[in-house]
Amino acid sequence: MSIRITIDGHEVIAQHGDRLVDVAADNGVYIPTLCYQRGKPCLGTCRACSVRVNGNVMAACTVPVSDGMEVEVNEPEVADMRKALVELLFAEGNHNCPSCEKSGRCELQAVGYEVGMMVSRFPYRFPVRERETAPEKLWLERDRCIFCQRCVEFVRDKETGRKIFSIDHRGTHASIEVDVALANKMPDEQVREAAELCPVGCIIEKGLGYNDPIGRRKFEIKSIRERALKRKHK
């Protein structure tokens, strides 16, 4: 059923129940996401897509559109709220982009540029997080994990369907963990997909890194905004 909503005052026609974040993208309005991927089930963990819907702040990936909805995306206060969320992620881990294998291909970094982050307004915490290097084909650089849960939900053992990644503990003690036996069974292809799926440089394929020269890396060729706006599903 066709419905009408407004995004930043502009009227937009959409299908009832479509996800707000997709509707916005289809109408040229970029909303950053870190956990959400179009076409996959919504996780709603990162909140980077927060917008105001009928006056309330909500994660746009979790909102099915309905007739008459009034959405604010680029209103300064809510835009700054999204920026603050991204700044929190940078302050919470250790993100030394110059030495990171994912730099130039990293969604967190790319979103940082899109929200205009120059510095985090929060004190940098410099947490101590041990890296996990036990699996044969991949390792976890835990400093960079943003706990989006993409790997937890979408990377499964081919045979049993069991989860390979999990998050232990909560809050500041949270830690991304990997089942080493299951990880060692992952075909090369799946290892590559998992590393690709991780929005940051936490899941890293061993023996690979810094392959593309600066200037020719993923988000330098096409920005994350352009990629989100162009991916029309219809």
Binding site: N94, N96, P98, C100, Q109, G116, V119, P123
Partner: protein, 209 residues
Amino acid sequence: MSSTEKHEIASHELPATPLDPETQAARDEKIQVAMIGLCGCWGCTLSFLDMDENLLRLLEKVTITRSSLTDVKRIPHRCAIGFVEGGVANDENIETLEHFRENCDILISVGACAVWGGVPAMRNVVPLEECFEEAYLDVPTTEPDSEPRIPYHPDLPKITTKVYPCHEVVKMDYFIPGCPPDGEAIFKVLDDLVNGREVELPTSINRYD
């Protein structure tokens, strides 16, 4: 700092031939710009040099005192705009940064080190004692007969327990991320300031690596 009591003379205190009054007066009228380096690798300072010929367009309006372009060791008088490379890793950095803050109207953190600590801040996850041990005691490159020891002398700056971003020590007004940022990014900020525009670093030239 205690070193001034020890009859040390900084280069700016040495006798120098004054500029001819006309040139001096013309310079004094311009916007004074300076750049200091704290705990960094001088990469950002090199990016300052990379403003290249762009800078010529601004020289009508600005004059550059202490920086990689000159050999001035201490800003000779108050500056309008001060750029800072590097974070704070020792007590001398603190003193230099505080002096700079007191003598600049606008201060700008340039590069990852100044903005959040950068490469030197990688030691923040290791206790300082272990850093010293690694650098001076367990180091494989010591002279065979020498007794390894951690250097200490009143003239040596004292290392801080952690490396701090500049804005955790003094107020910073603007930030240019990057390791190092391009000369283009530094120029954009300087150009905005000199021409009284609101400082804005477009997404296309903002980067963290």
